[in-house]
Amino acid sequence: MIDNIIHAAFLMTTPILLAALGGLVNRVAGLVNIGLDSMMLAGALVGLMVASQTGSWPAALVAAALVGGLLGLLMSLTVTRLQANEIIVGLGFNIAVAGLVRFFLKSWYGTSGTLSLPDVAMLPRIHIPVVADIPVLGAIFSDHDPLTWAAWLLVPATAWFLARTRLGLRLRAAGAAPQAARALGLNPLNLRDASTVFAGAMSGLAGAYLCIGVVGIFNEGITAGRGFLALAAFYFGRNRPWPTALGALLFGLFDAIQIRLQGRGLPAELVQTLPYVMVIVILTLVAITLKRARNKGA
């Protein structure tokens, strides 16, 4: 039971985590990305198509990342170059891309809503012999797909990237003080664009994960607002990778739990709110402890 919950939790976390890390970098560089959902959706569709066409999941992931990144670039340019408000542009992308995807499905495959293709190459599961049999550890480490591993490895990687690398430093500068960055001869706008492309690529992967990591089919509703959960996650983490990952994991974990709590007396609808309630509760507790600490400090 507990093992299953843990394993499921990680499964549900991966897409949110991927998108959240992208959005985090994006925000650090000074752009709040509400359009993650649209990039996820595009990534999901393209991922599935390529996975079925080529029969190779790496190719699918690359394609998904590319299309996501492309959307990211378009979005970024409208924000940085046309000085459009990032929030509306994000909302607009969510609507427009959803429309485009439906349009594409109809005109290309003549189907609407759902697309299931033959011999889709699904993500393999990495089975770790000995560990797999250890109770909790097994569930945590064994039988996950490469993308889940990648997502979690990307957490420290992102932290390291932002803290230690040249680009990371410059992204932070572009976000925190564009004028200063400019005065030093950097180009904040280009940096911002780069970060949005990254966010797009990550969201694209997140989408692909839903399609070829979880189920072998595409549905126009497959992102189910996970882009917004990702947004919540990096706001929750206040732009720090580990807390952000924790936020994403909260969603995944409590989603896994709520699924199993259903049909145990409590009304399904109320059980479904568990992840969202928990996020608020935890944020509040954190804030209270912080305040306590501060009041002691000064």
Binding site: T165, R166, L169, L184, L186, G297, A298
Partner: protein, 516 residues
């Protein structure tokens, strides 16, 4: 003049040829021509809004002229952005700080030219070595891992300068670098700049403080209202002459007529307070201010001034002690309630706290007092009354403006400060806490603001002045209280105060020790 008649003069490291820059109707730079020779310190002086910063931004490639060209090594040059200017060895320390918050000093130092190691990571060791080397050259020592946000202003100042050296700039443009520094720190900076000059670097130096200019500069260019009024060698001119050129008139020194001191308005007892990071900065401070007197606080930044301000205004929490305002205990009250009881507060940080730059001049002027019966009935603002009130105030404080409906960011520094002052003196408060009242303000502005404070005192007001300008404190204060390490280490009354003596007290010596 056209290009073909133009023969490059390579002794000119950096200069401008007929540079004009317009902002809408306003001509900030109007055909400016000047030359800074290699290995010299060249001062640019002029009133607020004369166009100094605009010109400098152009010289550093941050901005492009509408007409005219920049001269580099005598050659007409067009910059494509600051990176370009850095390429040609030109760097600038801007008037408003240009450090990135959230980054450490070290990160700020190497930003945009980070040393990389094999793994293409930023090589912390190389960076630190470079930093240490620069430290030695500059004769300072810094905690490089400190986040910028925690660093005191003079440290930030130095980091900005070192950053230019790190980038290999041999032309340093410094826009009002001393505006935010305490006397001791100004001295350090002057020494540093002279050292850099001796190494053959060229320095463009902007300041409203003519003493510094006279002490430091080899040549001086005076700008007024965007035009060059004159250029001369320092030796050939004098403070008075400069002042007259800058503002086109001779100022009468503000004079403090003796005034009757009345009841105690502010009474601080056993005050102790911590700073944001929980360090005890203010230790057992007692202080009284009576009606009709100006008390100045002298001290090197970081000796408890900020905490004192926070404690008196109620913006910060205190550990121990009590605050009485006009006899009433207000220790437990916040700024809001204290303002209602006659407190008035002129913030040291004009841009971030003292004014709301995006809001219209008029709203900045009435903010906080907008609920006063005269201006607001039943929650509804009385437009007519407000307009009249605003215009009268603006005229009384002779604020130069296109319209009081424009955002206050459209005013020059000096004019902005006048607005802030006007608001705080409006509705005759009992106590005015004036912090750095003339920071970044030109001599005309300074004279005006000082006069305002003295008039207010004569009218029976009580003033607490916190300033890093000793001259200012001496000119204004009936008593100067020296703050050192969170305690009062000395007090000097009007007339008997001398700059060097104060300077030593600020470093912890008591009067007795100095006398001995």
């Amino acid at each position: 003049m056209s290009m073909d008649e133009f023969q490059p003069d390579t002794t000119i490291r950096l200069g401008a040829q007929g540079v004009t820059r317009r902002f809408g109707a306003l001509v900030a730079n109007d055909g400016i021509t000047f030359r800074a020779h290699r290995g010299t310190i060249h001062a640019i002086v002029g009133g607020n809004g004369a166009g100094k910063s605009t010109l400098m931004r152009i010289l550093q490639g941050m901005d492009r002229p509408d007409e005219g060209v920049v001269l580099v090594d005598g050659m007409p040059t067009v910059f494509f952005g600051p990176a370009d200017a850095f390429q040609k060895g030109i760097g600038m320390v801007h008037q408003e700080f240009m450090l990135v918050p959230g980054l450490t000093l070290l990160e700020n130092l190497v930003l945009a030219q980070e040393p990389l190691d094999g793994l293409r990571r930023i090589d912390r060791r190389k960076a630190l070595d470079a930093a240490r080397k620069l430290e030695r050259e500059a004769g300072v020592t810094l905690d490089w891992d400190m986040p910028v946000d925690d660093a005191p202003v003079h440290v930030r100042q130095i980091v900005e300068i070192l950053r230019l050296l790190y980038r290999g700039a041999d032309v340093l443009i410094l826009d009002e670098p001393t505006a935010v520094l305490a006397p001791a720190q100004v001295q350090e900076l002057i020494v540093l700049l002279q050292k850099l000059r001796s190494e053959g670097r060229t320095i463009l130096f902007i300041s409203h403080k003519l003493d510094e200019v006279m002490a430091l500069a080899d040549e001086i260019t005076v700008i007024r209202a965007g035009k060059v009024i004159g250029a001369m060698k320092t030796a050939e001119t004098s403070k008075a002459a400069l002042a007259e050129m800058m503002i086109g008139e001779i100022l009468s020194r503000p004079n403090a007529r003796p005034s009757a001191v009345g009841r105690t308005v502010l009474e601080l007892r056993g005050l102790a307070a911590k700073d944001a990071r929980g360090v005890l900065r203010l230790k057992e401070l007692d202080l009284d201010i009576r009606a009709g007197e100006i008390v100045g606080i002298a001290g090197v930044a970081g000796n408890g001034q900020d905490e004192l301000i926070a404690a008196v205004t109620g913006l910060g929490r205190i550990e121990r002690g009590s605050v009485r305002l006009d006899g009433e205990d207000v220790t437990r009250l916040g700024l809001r309630d204290r303002r209602e009881r006659g407190l008035s507060y002129l913030s040291p940080d004009r841009a971030a706290e003292g004014l709301c730059l995006a809001a219209p001049i008029s709203e900045n002027l009435i903010a906080g007092r907008h609920r006063a019966a005269a201006l607001c009935k039943g929650g509804v603002l009385q437009k007519g009354a407000i307009r009249r009130h605003v215009e009268t105030l603006l005229d009384r404080f002779s604020v130069k403006r296109a319209s009081s409906a424009l955002p206050i960011s459209s005013l020059s520094g000096g004019n902005q400060q006048r607005v802030a002052m006007a608001r705080e003196l409006d509705g005759d408060p009992k106590l005015l806490v004036a912090c750095q009242p003339t920071r970044g303000v030109d001599i005309r502005g300074i004279a005006f603001i000082h006069q305002c404070l003295l008039d207010y005192r004569e009218a029976g007001g009580a003033v607490l002045v916190i300033s890093e300008e000793l001259d200012e404190l001496i000119a204004l204060s009936d008593r100067i209280v020296v703050l050192y390490d969170g305690r009062v280490t000395g007090e000097v009354s009007r007339g008997s105060a001398k700059v060097e003596e104060l300077g030593r007290m600020m470093l912890g010596e008591t009067r007795a020790e100095i006398a001995a």
